[in-house]
């Protein structure tokens, strides 16, 4: 059960052949530079643009193929645009009701769930023009969810907001990510948003589109551009085990008997969290380090090395258990350690951000 989309998208600026399968749960990011066709694909899925050559099915229901095209208002989906596009003549409450009234009831989110989830309870009586950009976007997301969609499409919902306003919305999106049961397709050109919010990634790389993969894999594949980035990072999902009150550290387990220690109380035991580890914060050593100030030290295996011709640094892909981890070290160190794929060594991680 998933979303299968195949389109020939022809625009004056570009031509794009898409053939992707998107999982029916979790957040799937369409990631790529501006103007590469991500939004066009999202609009095609919503039926807002009609491309003569296309086939689209959602969990077996055909929305478009050679002979049929389901009009957008008959597709059970939610769409959030870059601009909130709230109805200016209606209050926030009536904006929320607009979609809910037009769709047959279905057991799912209750109105107050959605309102709480997005923290807009105090705004219900206001007019859209009196809200800040971040508040408007939260109402737009709530409005889409309130209509009980089977699929939520987000088109760069943060791109029109400034830095501060983005911080007004991101925490709510993270909460949604954990509590939504429907699939979400999220268009973004921001690695940071994708690292925080996505489970799967469809990478738009020029005119080429990679198939859908887990975010952990896409970020650490040496044959994809993300790993060669200066700010390359690895994403590791883990579970909070305990908070050590004496030292003020939280233990996050991510593989068998492998735990990260991060500073501060990061939540209740059992909570799933996402660690983001910058490749340049990961150093390598051949012997188990002793007497080091670095807490997070794991046994690992070298999976692959990207020589990055002409640069003084190389990127090493490691496996800690079965979790991929990137390390950025100097070419000189790489030679000194005589790194080759398959060899075992130890990694030391200086810091990890909890997303």
């Amino acid at each position: 059960m998933n979303i299968k989309a195949r389109f020939e998208i022809i625009r004056s600026a570009f031509q794009l052949s898409v053939d992707v399968a998107i999982p029916s749960s979790g957040v799937t990011a369409l990631l790529g530079p501006s103007g590469c066709g991500k939004t066009s694909l999202l609009r095609a899925i919503a039926g807002l643009d009609r491309h003569p050559k296309g086939r689209l099915s959602i969990n077996g229901t055909v929305w478009q193929d050679a002979g049929s095209f389901v009009a957008p208002h008959l597709r059970r989906l939610g769409f959030v645009f870059q601009q909130a596009s709230l109805f200016p003549h209606l209050t926030v409450q009536n904006n929320l009701n607009y979609g809910a009234r037009r769709r047959r009831k279905k057991t799912g989110y209750q109105a107050h769930d959605v309102i709480d989830l997005l923290g807009i309870g105090h705004l219900l009586k206001r007019r859209p023009s009196t809200l800040s950009g971040g508040e408007q976007q939260r109402v737009a997301i709530a409005r889409a969810l309130h209509a009980q969609p089977d699929l939520l499409l987000l088109d760069e919902p943060l791109a029109a907001l400034d830095r501060e306003r983005k911080q007004d919305v991101i925490p709510y999106l993270e909460t949604l990510h954990q509590s939504l049961s429907i699939p979400v397709v999220y268009v973004s050109h921001s690695l940071d948003e994708v690292a925080r919010l996505a489970d799967h990634v469809v990478l738009f790389d020029g005119n080429h589109i990679q198939s859908c993969q887990s975010v952990e894999r896409v970020f650490t594949r040496l044959d994809l551009p993300l790993a060669a980035h200066d700010d390359a990072e690895s994403i590791i999902e883990g579970t909070i085990r305990r908070f050590d009150q004496v030292d003020g550290l939280t233990e996050i387990e991510f593989a068998n008997n492998c735990s990260f220690w991060v500073v501060g109380d990061r939540g209740h035991p059992g909570t799933k969290v996402r660690l983001r580890i910058a490749a340049r914060d990961v150093s390598l050593t051949l012997k188990r380090p002793e007497a080091t100030s670095i807490l997070n030290c794991f046994e690992a295996k070298v999976d692959a090395i990207d020589a990055q011709h002409g640069k003084p640094q190389v990127t090493v892909r490691l496996l800690v258990g079965d979790r991929p981890l990137l390390s950025r070290i100097t070419r000189k160190s790489s030679k000194a350690l005589d790194l080759v794929p398959g060899m075992s060594l130890y990694v030391q991680v200086k810091t990890a951000a909890v997303a």
Binding site: L48, H73, L74, F79, F81, S85, G99, R143, A144
Partner: protein
Amino acid sequence: MTLSSADFTALALTAQLAGLTTLVLLLVGTPLAWWLARSTQRWKVLIEAVVALPLVLPPTVIGFYLLIAFAPDGFVGQALNSLGLAPLVFTFAGLVVGSVIFSMPFVVQPLQNAFAAIGEQTLEAAATLGASPLDRFFSIAVPLAWPGYLTAAVLGFAHTVGEFGLVLMIGGNIPGETQTASISIYEHVESLQYGQAHALAATLLLFSVLVLIPVYALNRHVRMAGR
């Protein structure tokens, strides 16, 4: 300088004509303005130009062609005759049809501008929330375009009240049937009844001012609120 009963008849007839014309124009103008605002077809400029013709043509030119068409041997007259209907020339119904054509741009253009100002994305958002095209039109487009409707209604009404040449050409001067206030004023002046002419003229002047002030005040208010 008081209004005679004939003057009151002329004023009532004018109000009837303008009211009916405005109603017809709002009904006909809405789909036309919507299409003009949303269509990307190239030949829509042709329709736009035709709608705008009364802005530039002398009323007598339109009146002249309508007179020919409405006459019993004109193409409209013949068509009506074959349906067993009376010709339109020198009748109130004929004046309504003529006024609808003559005041068309004053209704269609404000509506078209109001519809064009509604962002495409607002309507797309409504579509993704389950609203059909007709539903989107009535639940989003019409409420958002209401200042345009007010302007259109007032301009359409006022412009019909003010027409003269066209009425003279196709309506003649039949009291209670086609003699509107502006025709009455002309007649009073022709027969040197300046006092009567004054009374009617002042009534129309006052009416026009009273009607236009709120419209422009509202437009200003809407523009400010839109910021």
